[in-house]
């Protein structure tokens, strides 16, 4: 495997030439914190060989004309990370009890828990931000023609991620269990039941029975916090792998420049 060029070290990490009058009485090299850090990283790298992979992922060549629109995918990723982190910690206080426990625990998070209103707000508004960003990202890929060969599979995985994200929005909407959450879920499940032949059974599956019952909320909670996030994380991994492997596209307004070696010879 050809070795990729190492990126230049930041100035703070570059070795400094010894100054006149410095006889080495200062910190010994082995006690230098920079040296110690490099030694620790080397120790891990020697055993895992992670650094070529990291360099392959982080220091890719990008085409000329790459602009701010290319950051929408990473922005969506960070919106997901925000949802994951705030969601994990909200789960420490939330109780999926449909006879009042859920509403009470959300009320406690919002009004009493230290920083609860902030963390819940990050999760609630972050959900909308993620939906907006994922559609902007999809629009960027579509209008730049970046879904074309050889990136079709990246697009397909992205569409699955979009559907899973919308499913997250649907299942998360019920969890506060207020009037809006309850009736929105009733309407959503009934829309789902409108699919011919399998629609009614899918709705039975979602509700855990014929009607909204004691286990519907815990079912939505399990789907919302375990099943879909796991699938999203795995698919984001596949999506990113393909992005790094195939590279990104140049903006459509840049004309392709044929390589000199490939240009036809002309009579001089």
């Amino acid at each position: 495997m050809p070795r990729l060029p190492a990126p230049p070290l930041p100035k703070a990490l570059q070795p400094r030439p010894r100054r006149p009058g410095d006889d080495g009485a200062g910190l010994a090299d082995s006690l230098d914190p920079v040296e110690a850090g490099i030694t620790a990283v080397d120790w891990i790298d020697e055993r895992t060989s992670l650094s070529p992979g990291l360099r392959w992922m982080m220091f890719r060549k990008v085409p000329r004309g790459t602009n701010w629109y290319y950051t929408l995918g990473t922005a969506t990723l960070f919106a997901f990370l925000n949802q994951a982190v705030t969601g994990v910690f909200l789960a420490m206080y939330y109780q999926p009890g449909s006879s009042g426990g859920a509403y009470e625990s959300v009320r406690y998070i919002t009004t009493d828990a230290f920083l609860g209103q902030f963390v819940r707000g990050m999760h609630k508004w972050g959900a909308s931000v993620m939906i907006i960003l994922i559609f902007l990202h999809m629009g960027r890929v579509f209008f730049f023609g970046a879904y074309k060969y050889p990136r079709e599979l990246t697009w397909v995985i992205g569409v699955v991620l979009l559907i899973l994200t919308l499913a997250m929005g649907f299942t998360g909407y019920l969890l506060p269990l207020d009037q809006r959450a309850y009736w929105a879920t009733i309407v959503g499940v009934n829309i789902n039941a409108g699919g011919p032949f399998i629609g009614p059974y899918l709705s039975n599956f979602l509700l855990g029975g014929a009607d909204f019952g004691a286990t519907t909320l815990s079912r939505f909670y399990a789907i919302h916090m375990l099943i879909i996030p796991g699938a999203i994380a795995a698919l984001i991994g596949a999506h990113l792998y393909l992005v790094a492997k195939l590279g990104t596209t140049a903006p459509p307004w840049l004309k392709a420049e044929p390589e000199k070696a490939l240009q036809p010879e002309t009579d001089v």
């Binding site: 006879s99 499940v189 009934n190 629609g199 059974y201 039975n204 014929a210 019952g213 004691a214 909320l217």
Partner: protein, 218 residues
């Protein structure tokens, strides 16, 4: 690919590969399939229903509705709190307007408050003598027949009966009706039961069984 012995059709390497793959597949299926079936179990389980008393016969007029809160599901986990409640609009049968055939289960007309468009709660407006849905403008008359808006079928109903021992009217399981008030097993809102609709949206296994001796189309 030649085998280790003369006439051997499956090499040891292929056999071992097959055994390892097969064992891994069986081990994975051993925990995945039961878990999936476990989560899908409620789809195939008949829900139970008990008759719920809603008051003496004199409570219910012929030309106006009285509301009663009833429980929609009595699962093994017991009451689920307020989410378990639903509203029934109840009146006595009025031979002048109720032309569907009479039997022991419709001396009182108990209409479900769930709109048959997408399941929002409809409200009886006495001045207009109409049920009106706040979500998308579904309108129904005193029999629950659609008179306007997007609903695909008349309001669902509950079986009612008179308990002679307790001298109380009781409400039983829900059923759906088509535009001729023919009884069907309960459907979700938004699923028509006229014409081809009754086949596009088949009977659900999870819905409670109708009371004995009642003709209800599947």
């Amino acid at each position: 690919m030649p085998g280790a012995f003369e006439g051997e059709t499956v090499t040891r390497r292929r056999f071992m590969t097959g055994v390892v793959m097969g064992a891994g597949g069986i081990a994975t299926a051993a925990f995945t399939l039961p878990a999936l079936a476990f989560s899908a179990g409620p789809v195939f389980k008949h829900e139970q229903w008990t008759w719920q008393p809603i008051g003496p016969a004199t409570d219910f007029p012929k030309d106006n509705f009285v509301t009663r809160v009833i429980q929609i599901q009595q699962g093994p986990l017991g009451a689920a709190g307020e989410v378990n409640n639903t509203l029934a609009y109840v009146r006595s049968r009025n031979p002048a307007i109720d032309t569907e055939p009479e039997d022991q289960y419709n001396h009182w007309i108990a209409l479900s408050s769930r709109c048959m468009h997408l399941g929002c709660p409809v409200r009886w407006t006495p001045a207009a003598e109409r049920f009106i849905c706040p979500c998308h403008g579904g309108v129904y008359d005193i029999r629950g027949m659609v008179t306007g808006g997007p609903p695909v079928r008349p309001l669902d109903r509950f079986y009612t009966r008179f308990n002679h021992a307790r001298r109380l009217v009781e409400v039983g399981p829900r059923y759906s009706v088509n535009s001729e008030l023919r009884r069907f097993s309960p459907r979700y809102p938004g699923e028509p039961v006229d014409g081809i609709g009754q086949y596009l949206y088949p009977r659900q296994f999870a819905q409670p069984k109708p009371p004995p001796g009642v003709s209800q189309k599947k």
